[in-house]
Amino acid sequence: MMSTASSFQVPKYLNAHTPAEYKGIQRDHVRLMTLDSVTGDCSHNYFNKLDSYLLEGDLLVLNNSRTIPAVLKGKRGKQTIEIRLSRKLTSNEWEALIVGGVVTVGEKIDLPGGLAATITGIGAESPLLVLSFSKNGLDLLEILYQYGEPLHYEYIETPWPIEMYQTVYASVPGSVEMPSAGRAFTWRLLNKLKKKGVNIAYLQLHAGLSYYGNDRWPNPNKHLEEFCIPAETAELVNKTRKNNGRVIAVGTTVVRALETAVNVNGNVEPQKGITSLYIQKGYPLKAVAGLITGFHEPEASHLDLLSAFIDKGLLMKAYKKALADGYLWHEFGDMNLILPMGERQ
């Protein structure tokens, strides 16, 4: 799982800590490194020029899950406890990470707005726990939005508002972290792509926590995420492949959802479910030909997933170029398009 670890290091100055809009540029003016998944050739551009790499008949699949304020501060006695939600289990139960104290099953945490959470079990993987809240459904959501904050990782120095953690098309609340590969899209760019004949489809995968703190990362085999593929999207994916168009996933979440939904005939079926699919080097991708993604840390399982698209040696060579060329990492950073470019001719 950690085969790529320590193969490179991201210097601190390449951590993007400011959203484009707060740097006086638009979302789609971040940089774009294109990477030919066959030859490993790289080119450098800006994300708003994405249309020049895509063709009529290609399909972009976007995850329109919306980021919810997933961090709640509470008390256990006099001790301050931070709850980071990861995955919704039922209308009043969540898998979550507890930060700031040792807690055990059966204990109760008092939260603002008259809400309480009881730890009722161990999550799908350590260190996640199962929390049962004293409110459910829309009442629980109301408290989350009243008192919760979006999750910020250590490299973020400013408590940006939750709007900065949304893609422009986010409209199905449920992710605890922004599906950040889509962050650089503007409606203007989407309109330009549509005009060119590139099709756009949407699915939902509610992203869970990608980091558990203290150098603990999700085990990709046990990392469960809820997803939904609408019939219209499945149909467009299958039609695009049949017509030799390229299906390009915007984000690793989209790859995970689509590849989970491939049936024995190689077609994507519309469905709702929970995926635990771990995509790594050698995984035979059946639905997706290309990927738009950010730049990932060496420890993240996302890099393993990228190795299903491109030879790991070529990927590492490109990453070294990106590091040398000052590309920015993380959710507010620059973008990477990995695609068999030869098919453009």
């Binding site: 939005y145 508002p161 098309y169 986010a170 609340p173 949407y202």
Partner: protein
């Protein structure tokens, strides 16, 4: 089976907002309503429920982005999306006053609330509509948003901005399946009008009558709304003439 449409109304507890909510509850749509005052909001929520309609009522100040996100997110989770948005909420500011006498902080506040709220709510609701390639957004304007009237202060000026907002968005959303339009309800017998014209000596329209126009604009898919400015009084007059 066709799903019952979800209609979102801001500022739903008083005046025209309240009349709209009750009129739409009677035709059985699913309602998503908000207001700043909790007490009045709970009152209308109960009335809607007693009429047999489904409702999500959220206390929210729609000029506040955090509240807008909370309100719309709860509705997206509860109802799966919004089909029609009626940007009704607005404030009048101080009663009849010359601009020369108008307090600066009131001027700024009226513009902030009346211009920001339809922008924030529309921007938040729009992605769901664009993805479904379907939706109707109706903004509330005023005669004072087209013609400057003495003593209507920042209210009229803010409605000029709402008209510009509507026109700009209408131009940008052509061929998307989402329509943006505006309605001038005319002068109505409401609390707001009593502030605007305290010694009114002419007849005012009943907001419940005006609400009937909105029921048609909301639900009648044969009416092409996009980019248009409607005057509710002319609609009502036409119907009266038909009788």
């Amino acid at each position: 089976m066709k799903k019952t449409p979800v209609v979102m109304i801001t500022g739903a507890s008083k005046g025209l907002g309240r009349a709209l909510t009750l009129a739409l509850a009677k035709v059985g749509v699913r309602l998503a309503i908000c207001a700043r005052g909790e007490m009045m909001l709970r009152k209308i929520e109960k009335e809607v429920l007693s009429l047999g309609a489904e409702v999500i009522a959220v206390q929210a100040d729609v000029a506040d982005i955090r509240d807008v996100n909370r309100f719309v997110s709860i509705v997206e989770e509860g109802f799966g999306g919004v089909d029609v948005l009626i940007n009704n909420a607005s404030i009048f500011g101080p009663g009849p006053a010359l601009l020369s006498d108008y307090p600066e902080h009131d001027f700024a506040e009226v513009l902030r609330v009346n211009v920001m709220n339809p922008f924030l709510v529309t921007k938040r609701v729009l992605p769901g509509m664009l993805i479904r390639k379907k939706g109707r957004i109706i903004n509330l304007t005023s005669e004072a948003g087209k013609t400057g009237f003495a003593e209507w202060g920042a209210y009229g000026i803010s409605k000029f901005a709402v008209e510009g907002l509507t026109q700009t968005w209408a131009d940008e959303l052509q061929d998307t399946g989402v329509s943006v339009s505006m309605v001038d309800p005319g002068e109505m017998n409401t609390e707001m009008h009593r502030v605007a014209v305290p010694e009114c000596d002419y007849e005012l329209e009943d907001p419940n009558e005006v609400a009937k126009v909105f029921v048609a604009l909301t639900l009648d898919e044969t009416i092409d709304l996009h980019g248009k400015r409607f005057e509710a009084q002319s609609f009502l007059q036409e119907k009266r003439d038909e009788r």
